[in-house]
């Protein structure tokens, strides 16, 4: 089955990003297709490559990046939510005249249309968040 995932909560807040990650892993193990993971609202904070959690804690961003590389997932960050929270890719850095960008490998910034498309294309859309 084709599944879409929405993550509305930042990392290390409650558990939404962890739950979504574990759900995606379990769905892939069962042979389902993950059409897209859409990071919305504070969920965009999962996509910064500048997080440095303690060594004995999980690195949530890195886990998503690694899973993306392994399964070629489409990890999409909402552009409007990202701009409000300082999540930029190289293009947005130039466009906004900023001196740095911080998007993690494996994530891409795009618009809300990507969420709508996931809602239309997927058999199920599952939301994790606050």
């Amino acid at each position: 089955m084709k599944l879409g995932i929405v993550v509305n909560e930042g990392p290390y807040t409650h558990e939404a990003s962890d739950t979504a990650y574990n759900f995606v892993v379990a769905a892939l193990e069962k042979g389902h297709e993950i059409f897209r993971v859409f990071f919305y609202h504070d969920g965009v904070n999962n996509a910064t490559r500048l997080t440095v959690p303690p060594q004995d804690d999980r690195n949530i961003q890195q886990k998503w990046t690694d899973l993306q590389a392994k399964h070629d997932l489409d990890l999409v960050v909402c552009i409007a939510a990202a701009q409000r929270r300082g999540i930029l890719d190289e293009n947005e850095m130039k466009r906004q005249g900023k001196d740095a960008y911080n998007i993690a490998p494996g994530f891409r910034i795009s618009g809300l249309g990507q969420l709508i498309e996931a809602g239309i294309q997927c058999d199920r859309l599952v939301t994790f968040g606050d």
Binding site: L3, N22, F23, V25, A27, R124, L125, V126, T127, G129
Partner: protein, 101 residues
């Protein structure tokens, strides 16, 4: 049109479970995840509320129960314990999902 309701808030903190139970229809399933699993604790007000609802299946995520020390001895009856794979199966076997955030 069976719906899977996903509740991730403690019933002792937020009204998500109560709202969910007010809207869930016969044949639906409610899965309790994250702090939502506190509703499973035997003898609690929320566990009594679950018991009073007819025609709805209840499930709880095993990893979240374990993380909160809710073992079998503390579980109320009538709630199926599922792992993440079971959670995925519930999503695919129901027609729609609704997260009560």
């Amino acid at each position: 049109m069976a719906m899977l309701h996903i509740v991730n808030k403690s019933p002792y903190e937020k009204g998500a479970l109560e709202s969910c139970l007010n809207h869930a229809l016969e044949g639906d399933t409610v899965i309790l995840i994250e702090d939502g699993v506190y509703a499973c604790v035997k003898g609690g007000r929320a566990a009594n509320a679950l018991a009073s609802v007819k025609g709805i299946r209840f499930a709880a995520l095993s990893a979240d129960l374990k993380a909160r020390g809710i073992g079998e001895d503390k579980m109320t009856e009538g709630v199926d314990v599922v792992d993440y794979g079971g959670f995925v199966d519930l999503v695919t076997s129901c027609d729609k999902t609704e997260s009560w955030l």
